[in-house]
C-alpha cells in the first residue's frame, strides 16, 4: 500500500513571497504519478500540477513548480509570487500507473493549510 505524508499542517507566507510545501511518499512501485490539489474555502478540489515518475524534469505550471526527488520519494510544491487567492488547503496525492482494466485511485496526504498574508 502507498502512503503520503505532508509534515506541515499549517504554513503562512507574505504576499509576493515564495513558499515550499513538503510531501513524501512511500511506495514499491516504479511507475506512478504525483499530484498537488488545492482546496480553497469553497471546498472545490482543483488540480494544481502533476508529475509522471518516469520524467526527470520537474513539472512547472506558471507560478507553481515541483521538486521531484524520486530516490528520496519527495515531491515538494513551490509557489512563487504568492497571491491572496492561493490561500487554501493543499493536498499531495499519489496514483499508481495502472493499465488494462484496472482503476487508478488517488492516495492523499493529510494536507497543508496555507495562509497568504497581505
Amino acid at each position: 500500500a502507498q502512503t503520503v505524508t505532508q509534515s506541515q499542517p499549517e504554513m503562512s507566507v507574505q504576499e509576493a513571497e515564495t513558499v515550499t510545501l513538503s510531501c513524501t511518499y512511500d511506495t514499491s512501485e516504479n511507475n506512478y504519478y504525483l499530484f498537488w490539489y488545492k482546496q480553497p474555502p469553497s471546498r472545490q478540489m482543483i488540480l494544481v500540477i502533476r508529475q509522471e515518475a518516469y520524467k526527470q524534469q520537474n513539472a512547472t505550471e506558471n507560478r507553481f513548480s515541483v521538486n521531484f526527488q524520486k530516490a528520496a520519494k519527495s515531491f515538494s510544491l513551490k509557489i512563487s509570487d504568492s497571491q491572496l487567492g492561493d490561500t487554501a488547503m493543499y493536498f499531495c496525492a499519489f496514483m499508481k500507473h495502472m493499465s488494462g482494466n484496472a482503476g487508478n485511485m488517488l492516495t492523499f496526504g493529510g494536507g497543508t493549510r496555507l495562509m497568504v498574508k497581505p
Binding site: Y33, F35, Y37, S42, R43, Q44, M45, I46, L47, R50, F91, M95, H97, M98, S99, N101, A102, G103, N104, M105, L106, T107, F108, G109, G110, G111
Partner: protein, 116 residues
Amino acid sequence: DARVTQTPRHKVTEMGQEVTMRCQPILGHNTVFWYRQTMMQGLELLAYFRNRAPLDDSGMPKDRFSAEMPDATLATLKIQPSEPRDSAVYFCASGLVLGEGNQPQHFGDGTRLSIL
C-alpha cells in the same frame, strides 16, 4: 469547461434516514470515484468504477453504504441507515483511462452531509 456535477450540495437529515448522493461524471470519462473527507481521516477512497463496473469498494462500510452506476451519466452513493459518524464531505471524481494512459481525476464540488 466540462465539470463533475454533484447533488445535493448540502444535506442535513436525522439519524436512521436514507441518504442518496448523486454524481454526473464528465462526459466521456470512464472511471468514477467516491471519496469521503473528514477532519480526522482526511480524504479516503470509498469506491470506484471503471466502465460502470465496480472495481473496488473495500473502503466502504458494506452494511450501510452502497454505490452504483445505473448508466454512464449517473453514479449514486447511498447510506441506509445513516449515522452521525457518516457526517462528512463526499466527493465524486471522474477520469479517463485509455490503454496505458492515466489521466488526472476531476472532482465535483462535494456534498456536505450532516447527520443529526
